[in-house]
């Protein structure tokens, strides 16, 4: 009798947890896509993370209105991005950036968050020396966000 009670209790907890994880994942999952993947089949309103290179000559920053626009490219397709807020420290033309947000039916990507990251593809070419790998690892250790 007692054992049954505990089993039922345990079962309820496990089920509740499974449901919470399922609901949590389905509500907050964000898909990583490349500009080509996104422009092939954009779904308006769905949460995406788009990673690519900030195309040189496309960054426009209006300090007064805090409007930032630029184009992300992966060499094959481009995605126009709009963001409200200051460009982050590591952000720049010709560098890599990951933007999180959603596709707007008006034909641009509305970014809520820009993650400009230190990493391989994002380093300027002249940095790629003998210590390349080590440098990256070091950078990564400290700048994990």
């Amino acid at each position: 009798m007692k054992k049954t009670k505990f089993l039922i209790g345990g079962g309820v907890i496990v089920l509740a947890l499974a449901y919470m994880i399922y609901a949590g994942v389905s509500q907050s999952v964000v898909y990583f896509v490349t500009p080509s993947e996104l422009s092939a089949a954009p779904v308006a309103g769905k949460a995406y993370r788009v990673g690519g290179m900030v195309q040189p000559g496309t960054v426009k920053w209006e300090a007064k209105t805090l409007d930032l626009t630029f184009t992300l490219s992966d060499g094959r397709a481009t995605v126009p991005v709009r963001h409200k807020g200051t460009p982050p420290d590591l952000f720049g033309e010709g560098r890599g950036a990951v933007v999180e947000g959603s596709w707007s039916p008006d034909g641009y990507f509305k970014a809520n968050h820009i993650m400009a990251k230190h990493s391989e593809e994002y380093k300027a070419p002249h940095d790629a020396g003998a210590n390349h790998e080590q440098l990256l690892r070091t950078l990564k250790d400290g700048s994990t966000r």
């Binding site: 200051t86 400290g142 994990t144």
Partner: protein, 648 residues
């Protein structure tokens, strides 16, 4: 010459650690004390060698020995003196050195403390500790060679990651690693218990202080990490559910479960199997965390080169888990529970439920951290579950845990009668509900905040009820009130130390709740002489100035507060440009307060200094998180004081 000396010493240390591990094991098996003694000498040798390596590395940093690759990457001639020392553990290789070094210290203390009082378990525990140590020395020697040379020798180094030029770098890694490595001790004793078959409660009581110490340092490391994130990274938060944070948080969760479940075993002879499993899990999670954050697995989602170190950690982790599982299976019968749960409404059940919740939280954190990896590997779909997932799933779990924190210490063992429940909880529940109503009328409209705050009130009330009752009982036999309270804290320091730790957790909870519910922020561009305003603060932008620092170039904005609040104060957020980095780094300025912090980040600026874009935040009650850490410290110290009374 010195780097070669260091590298050679590492290989000797590796041989000694391996020898010691085997010798202690054989000594334990055959009961030959001479072998165990020999293992102790080996442990001492490893300690000396690893310490010497650490010192050599410090020396290499202080003398700018750029022929050592690790030094060249993590320092340059402009790096200030104290950051040259902290740079020693500023990256992968050095952090393993720090880890090993702490493990050698722990091993020595274990030898000093336990070689006489834990005769049967001790040789095996020593063997396990030296085995773990051997692994870390192996990592230092082979996949992460800290003394590796660099040719040609560069004239100057690259420099420490600028984000790590912070005082938190002195304390954070040290505390965190003292926590991580600390769990090796209860793990070693658990394995020793399994091997010798003495799986009763001796290993638990022997390692109680060790477990609490490790738990405390891990908590401290997490809090200092939060402080670093808050005042260095410039996003105004302290916890982002980043894989690195999760990696340290998971062992904390299972460690917390372990700290509680051992009490049930001590008191009721239950949960033997569970406790061994928990400590194995905690120790494995410290390894897993290191694997996750140091191997580049997580980063590989964003294209990152994977080194050999991942293989080393994964192999060792598998070895640990397989060995532990085999031992568990071998001792399965002996581990069968002696006591039994009598009722669902009892202290045992509440503690068990607390454990279930903590392990559930561990699982969700684990799931959220590795799910993206699994998805990418299995389905080829790159995705992530960020902060919303972790918050959504964990907040209910943590709120339940806080509730249990109020119930657990007061509810009766075995079976709680209706009378016991009424006597202990009626008052606190009423106070909690009144608190909820009060917060609501005061204008708190977030349901989550109201629930969280009233739970804090409820738990505080249970602690007060308990203290008052116990004090009164002592006063009845003629003690004065302060004397009664003091005597209580000292005589029953384990129990009341635990209460103080709980209070610390409550204070942290208030900080987390407050900062989520009431923080506000704005982003704006101002011209010189113009004001930025937020929550009653008015900041006047007075201009920019540039300066040359020892290892970077700095642009500082000056903002004077001239509104109704904090008039006259000046905030100077800056941007630092490091030559080794192509992009600048924000330097946050802030005014910390008990109820709120004013927090300013300099974003963009015009080169002529005429305008600046700033992010302005008023972060509420964040300081409570750090204050909670202080309370936590007090509670831990209190609970570690040797007990005055004889154990019951």
């Amino acid at each position: 010459m010195i780097p070669e000396l260091g590298a050679a010493m590492l290989f000797v240390a590796l041989a000694l650690a391996l020898y010691g591990s085997v010798a202690a094991g054989v000594g334990g098996r055959t009961g030959r004390p001479a072998l165990v003694e020999s293992a102790q000498h080996a442990a001492l040798g490893v300690f000396v060698l690893v310490t010497a390596c650490l010192l050599l590395l410090v020396y290499a940093f202080l003398t700018f020995d750029f022929s050592v690759r690790y030094v060249a990457i993590n320092t340059n001639r402009g790096t200030p003196f104290y950051y040259r020392i902290t740079a020693v553990w500023g990256a992968l290789e050095g952090s393993i050195v720090l880890w090993s070094s702490m493990l050698t210290i722990y091993t020595l203390i274990v030898i000093l403390r336990h070689r006489r009082n834990a005769r049967e378990l001790y040789p095996w525990a020593l063997s396990v500790m030296l085995g773990v140590l051997a692994f870390f020395v192996l990592v230092m020697a082979v996949p992460a060679p800290v003394f590796e040379r660099l040719t040609p020798i560069p004239p100057d180094g690259r420099g420490l990651n600028p984000l790590l030029e912070d005082s938190g770098m002195i304390t954070h890694p040290v505390a965190l690693y003292l926590g991580f490595t600390g769990f090796t001790v209860p793990f070693a004793f658990a394995i020793a218990a399994l091997i010798t078959g003495r799986v009763s409660d001796f290993w638990i009581t022997t390692t109680r202080r060790w477990t609490i110490t490790a738990w405390y340092f891990l908590s401290l490391g997490l809090l200092i990490g939060g402080w670093w994130s808050y005042h260095v990274l410039g996003w105004g938060g302290y916890w982002a559910w980043d894989p690195v944070e999760n990696a340290a948080f998971m062992p904390w969760l299972t460690g917390t479960a372990f700290v509680h479940s051992v009490m049930i075993q001590e008191r009721r002879r239950m949960l033997r199997l569970w406790n061994v499993a928990l400590v194995v899990m905690t120790f494995s999670l410290t390894l897993f965390g290191t694997f996750l954050t140091r191997s580049g697995v997580i980063a590989s989602v964003h294209a990152f080169t994977q080194g050999a170190i991942g293989i080393f950690f994964l192999s060792f982790l598998s070895l640990v888990l397989l060995t532990a599982l085999a031992l568990l299976a071998w001792r399965w019968d002996a581990l069968g529970a002696q006591g039994e749960l009598d009722s669902v409404v009892s202290r045992e059940s509440v503690f068990l439920l607390n454990n279930v919740m903590l392990v559930a939280a561990t699982f969700t954190v684990f799931f959220g951290t590795v799910f993206p990896l699994v998805s990418e590997a299995v389905r080829g779909v790159k995705l992530s579950v960020g902060m919303p997932f972790f918050n959504q799933v964990n907040v209910p779990l943590f709120l339940s845990l806080i509730f249990l924190m109020g119930v657990g210490p007061l509810i009766a063992w075995r079976r709680a009668s209706a009378d016991n429940l009424r006597r202990n909880f009626l008052g606190p529940i009423v106070v909690g509900i009144v608190g909820a109503a009060l917060f609501w009328t005061l204008g708190v409209r977030s349901a989550l905040a109201v629930i969280s705050l009233s739970l804090v009130v409820f738990v505080t009330a249970t602690i007060v009820v308990d203290l008052l009752r116990a004090t009164r009982a002592r006063m009845r036999v003629g003690e004065s009130a302060p004397r009664a309270l003091g005597g209580l804290l000292l005589r029953h320091n384990r129990r009341y130390g635990g209460f103080v730790v709980h209070l610390g957790v409550l204070v942290v909870t208030l900080g987390v709740t407050g900062s989520h519910a009431w923080s506000v922020q704005t982003e704006t561009t101002v011209h010189r002489g113009e004001h930025a305003e937020l929550a009653g603060y008015r900041l006047r932008f007075d201009g920019l100035r540039a300066s040359e620092e020892s290892n970077h170039f700095k642009v500082t904005g000056t903002f004077t507060i001239d509104g109704a609040r904090a008039t006259g104060a000046v905030l100077e957020p800056a941007k630092k440009f490091y030559p080794q980095d192509s992009s600048p780094i924000a330097y946050v300025d802030y005014r910390l307060g008990v109820m709120e912090d004013l927090y300013v980040v300099l974003g963009d600026f015009a080169r002529d200094g005429s305008q600046a874009t700033i992010k302005l935040q008023v972060n509420r009650m964040v300081s409570w998180i750090w204050l909670g850490g202080l309370v936590l410290t007090l509670g831990t110290v209190l609970s570690l004081v040797p007990e005055r009374r004889r154990p019951a």
